[in-house]
Amino acid sequence: MKLDPAIRDQVLSTVPSLRAFAISLCGNIDRADDLVQETLLRALAHIDSFQPGTNMPAWLFTILRNLFRSEYRKRRREVEDADGRYAETLKSHPEQTGRVEFEEFRTALAKLPSDQREALILVGASGFSYDDAAAICGCAVGTIKSRVNRARTRLADLLAIDSVDDFGPDRATRAVLASGGRS
C-alpha cells in the first residue's frame, strides 16, 4: 500500500520550515539540508507511528531535533562554527532597505546559546505553541518560556536596542561605519 497522498503532502509542505529550523540549529546550509534529508528518510520509514490528524510539523520537528542532538554529540569535538558564521550561510538576501539590520540580527541570533535560540525560533518564528515547543524539545513548558525570555533579552542586549528608534537609519549607518567600510 502506498502512502496516503494527503500525508505525503503534509510532509512536503513542512519541508520549507523544517529547513529554516535546521539552518538555525546547524548554522550551515549544507549540513542543514543533509539533516532535513535524514529526517525525511527517518520519518517516512516510520510513518506508521504518525497519528493522522495530529500535528505533522511538530512530529517532523521532533525527529529532526533528535537527529541533530545525537549527531551533535558525536561531533562535539569538532570545531564549532565561529560566532557569526550562521550569518554567512544563506545565499539569498532580501533586497529591501534594512539589509544591514537584517544581517546584524542574524549575527546576533547566531550568538545565542543553542537552547535559547531553538526555543525562540520554535515559538517566535515557526509558530508553535509553548506546549508544542516543549514537546519538541522534551522539556517543561516553563523551561521554554524562560528560554524564550532570556533569548529576547540577550538579543536586545546584543543589538543594543533601548528603544524602537535604535532600529532606524542612524543605527544602520553606525553599523556600516563600525564595520570599517567592509561590505
Binding site: 529547513r19 534529508q37 541570533l109 525560533i121
Partner: protein
C-alpha cells in the same frame, strides 16, 4: 504547512502573577533586564520572522521533493 502567525506576541511575561493586568501603569523599567518594552519585543519578533521566512520562501528544494515522492510511492510494508 500553512505558515501560522507567530505567537511570540502578545508578550507573555514569565512569572507574572495571575490577574496582574496593569501593564499600562507599570514603571518604565523596574529592573533593566527584567522586561523588554513591548515595541522592542515586537521588533525582535519581526526580525526573527524575516530571517526565518527568508529560508521558508525558498520552498522545497527539488532533490528533497523527489525524495519524498519516491519514498511515498514505495510499498509501506
Amino acid at each position: 504547512m500553512k505558515h501560522r502567525n507567530s505567537n511570540l506576541e502578545p508578550v507573555e511575561p514569565v512569572g507574572e502573577k495571575p490577574g496582574s493586568q496593569d501593564n499600562m501603569v507599570r514603571p518604565t523599567s523596574p529592573k533593566p533586564e527584567a522586561r523588554l518594552g513591548r515595541e522592542v519585543q515586537a521588533r525582535i519578533g519581526q526580525q526573527l520572522r524575516a530571517v526565518y521566512n527568508d529560508v521558508v520562501n525558498q520552498g522545497v528544494p527539488p532533490h528533497l521533493a523527489d525524495l519524498v515522492r519516491r519514498l511515498s510511492d514505495q510499498d509501506q510494508d
